[in-house]
């Protein structure tokens, strides 16, 4: 054996940026994450050419899955052309040759920060959610070693207590995004800072969701057909954002999650947060042949 057999010809970059060893570790951890839905699996989390906190966890998952035939969609706050989404999408296609798309229906891999598209995902699609803080217990226990023990013991009492206190103090649960949810009846996870509107899209879904926190080095998954139940009291139903009655002032869409745009004259107008859905709706209205897929919500109601 020589040194040469242990190495390879120099190349500026591996296919998909990550080297083979990094990808193998990701593969091993993704398998474990799928096997124990909602349970945070620690991983080494390599440094990638974007800053920590900017989607490095999602990026490592996507880079592990990507191949030239992949079609990637990247969104940030629901928008494909937001600066960080554009930057990540450009990087992905640059290191893999995969095709880019803005259309949820065309994508094979969807990497997202803070939103799940409004069109239903299919069983051949993978949703990769970027996660800033993977630990739902962080607000009640910042120490990760203690929090790990609490997960091991399924000790979620303090989390329930926080929700109960909110009920008592404010008359309702005031948790905004990143609503803690019980997965497969065992582990509480944070679904990443998606709005409450999006959490039911993970429950008994057709697609596979991989959630990855690069900075915190934790990876977890929600396989298809897996129970994802927001923590609620039996007499207080889960409440999504009150957006069902709002209409997008640009596309005319209603029954989707909205961005609120404050107006100089006071008050607000609303626009669909899923920006490419808005674009498709406008195109359709202008008579273009554009396909809008089946939606999770219909007339503001979640479809079973």
């Amino acid at each position: 054996m020589t040194l040469a057999t242990l190495t390879r010809p120099w190349a500026a970059m591996s296919y998909g940026f990550l080297d083979a060893s990094a990808k193998r570790e990701m593969r091993r951890k993704i398998i474990k994450a799928i096997a124990v839905p909602g349970c945070q699996m620690p991983y080494a989390s390599r440094e990638v050419p974007i800053a920590r906190g900017w989607g490095t966890g999602g990026l490592q998952v996507t880079l592990t899955l990507i191949k030239p035939a992949s079609v990637v969609k990247v969104i940030d706050q629901g928008a494909d052309d937001s600066v960080n989404a554009a930057s990540i999408r450009r990087f992905l296609s640059r290191v893999s040759g995969a095709a880019e798309t803005w259309d949820t229906l065309e994508a094979t891999i969807l990497q997202s920060r803070h939103r799940i598209p409004e069109e239903r995902l299919r069983d051949d699609q993978v949703l990769v959610l970027q996660v800033p803080n993977p630990e739902p217990l962080r607000p009640v226990q910042p120490n990760m070693s203690i929090a790990r023990q609490m997960h091991a013991d399924a000790d979620y009492g303090r989390l329930w207590l926080v929700l109960y206190e909110q009920m008592v103090r404010s008359g309702r649960i005031v948790q905004g995004a990143a609503y803690p949810s019980l997965v497969n009846g065992r582990h509480v996870m944070t679904p990443s800072p998606i709005p409450r509107w999006d959490v039911p899209k993970l429950h008994m879904a057709h697609h596979l969701t991989l959630l990855s926190a690069g900075r915190e080095k934790r990876l977890y998954a929600v396989p298809p057909f897996t129970r994802v139940e927001p923590l609620v009291f039996s007499d207080v139903p889960y409440q999504v954002e009150d957006h069902a009655g709002l209409t997008c002032h640009r596309s005319g869409l209603s029954g989707v999650f909205m961005n609120e745009i404050p107006q100089d004259s006071g008050g607000s107008v609303f626009e669909a947060s899923d920006s490419n859905l808005g674009i498709k709706a406008i195109r359709q209205a202008e008579g273009e042949a554009t396909k809008i897929g089946p939606m999770w919500y219909e007339n503001g109601e979640l479809r079973p």
Binding site: M1, T2, L3, L6, T7, M13, F17, D19, A20, S21, E25, Y43, A44, E47, V48, A51, R52, G53, W54, T56, D76, Q77, D81, S82, V83, A85, A86, S87, H114, R115, P132, N143, M144, S145, I146, S170, G171, R172, I173, V174, Q175, G176, A177, P193, P195, R215, K217, E241, D242, H243, R250, F257, M258, N259, S273, S275, G278, I279, I282, R283
Partner: protein, 352 residues
């Protein structure tokens, strides 16, 4: 299509990056070489935090980032990710270090001697403003000692151990090739000893100083005495597949060992080492290492607290990520807040 026109993210990021790079100007090999030679300690610091020893690449990273150290470290770490591992170097032993500087504050003199080496410790910190008026600063020549200090020095802790003064950390024997690597496996707590030392070696100099200083001021349990501080060069010994061991070159390293009297009545040691010469970092790091055992959970010297919060790439990345839009989460909170406001009158009627 009006939807798209108001955004145009792709063009914006392209031009924003150009604006930044325009300020930096052209980067040439000469400029990189100039940085490498003019700023060796900065190059060292960046190499240490990047855990990548290559002064040329470190100088290039400094040139590309315009001296933003967090950017430079990220550039190097990201490059490091792409490199295959072809061999594992043999552990470096203290006695084998090619030592430039070695001092102990614990004793007036020590076996092997105190070696001041290169330092500004006793210099008067005066700006050479004449340089700006056209008079170059020419360093006065060094008068070599009659007898050069020996290149290799024994370890002071070895003497202390022989004297029965030092409590040895419990350690399990491990084959050099099996030493865990924090860049290839997750950091979990209680951390493997190797993970702790590797994390400190990669840690942010400023962050380690802030927490180490807090420990020194009294937020820790142990007050450090510098047992031994070294600036040295280490041979990188690797094994050829044929079995022969050879040096792949030398790297500059610094290391500090600090000590204090422990509860056992013996001396306890804290240790930190890093690539490059960076005395502040290794003294502060060793102080944190000294204070970690038995520290209260969540205290500023506890291992988890220290190692998570001194990781330069994670800390700086998360800090700047707050510039990213968060309007979806904000919208979600706003909805909950309005909902709570609407629910409020009902709860106010509840008798106290």
């Amino acid at each position: 299509m009006a939807y798209v026109a108001t955004r145009g993210g792709e063009r914006a990021i392209e031009q924003a990056e150009r604006l930044y790079r325009q300020e930096m100007g052209q980067i040439t090999a000469d400029r990189v070489a100039g940085l490498r030679h003019a700023l060796p300690l900065l190059v060292d610091r960046v190499m240490g935090e990047a855990s990548l020893y290559d002064p040329d690449l470190a100088a290039l990273a400094l040139a590309q980032s315009g001296g933003d150290l967090y950017e430079a470290v990220l550039l190097l770490r990201a490059w490091r990710t792409t490199q295959p591992r072809i061999a594992i170097a043999a552990p470096v032993r203290l006695e084998e270090l090619f030592t430039h500087r070695r001092i102990s504050a614990a004793f007036k003199d020590i076996p092997g001697g105190q070696i001041l080496g290169p330092t500004l410790d006793y210099a008067h910190r005066l700006l050479a403003t004449e340089v700006l008026e056209g008079t170059p600063f020419t360093p006065p020549p060094v008068d070599p000692a009659a007898h050069p200090a020996p290149a290799h020095q024994p370890s002071l802790a070895a003497w202390q151990k022989a004297e029965g003064l030092v409590a040895d950390r419990p350690s399990a024997p491990i084959a050099p090739d099996d030493i865990p690597d924090v860049t290839r496996e997750p950091l979990l707590f209680p951390a493997a000893r190797a993970h702790t030392l590797q994390s400190l070696a990669r840690a942010d100099t400023g962050g380690v100083l802030a927490l180490g200083y807090a420990a020194m001021r009294g937020y820790g349990n142990a007050h450090p005495t510098v047992n031994e501080l070294r600036l040295a060069e280490a041979e990188v010994m690797v094994r050829h597949p044929s079995g022969a061991s050879f040096s792949a070159g030398r790297v500059k390293v610094s290391q500090a060992e600090v000590t204090s009297k422990g509860k056992s009545g013996l001396l306890e040691l804290g240790f930190c080492a890093t690539f490059g010469w960076n005395e502040v970092k290794v003294i502060a790091g060793a102080t944190l290492d000294l204070n970690a055992p038995g520290a209260e959970k969540g205290s500023a010297v506890e291992e988890e607290f220290v190692l998570y919060h001194t990781e330069p790439v994670e800390a700086s990345g998360f800090c700047i990520h707050f510039k990213l839009p968060h309007y979806v989460t904000f919208q979600s909170s706003l909805d909950a807040l309005r909902g709570a406001k609407a629910a409020q009158p009902a709860t106010e009627e509840v008798p106290a």
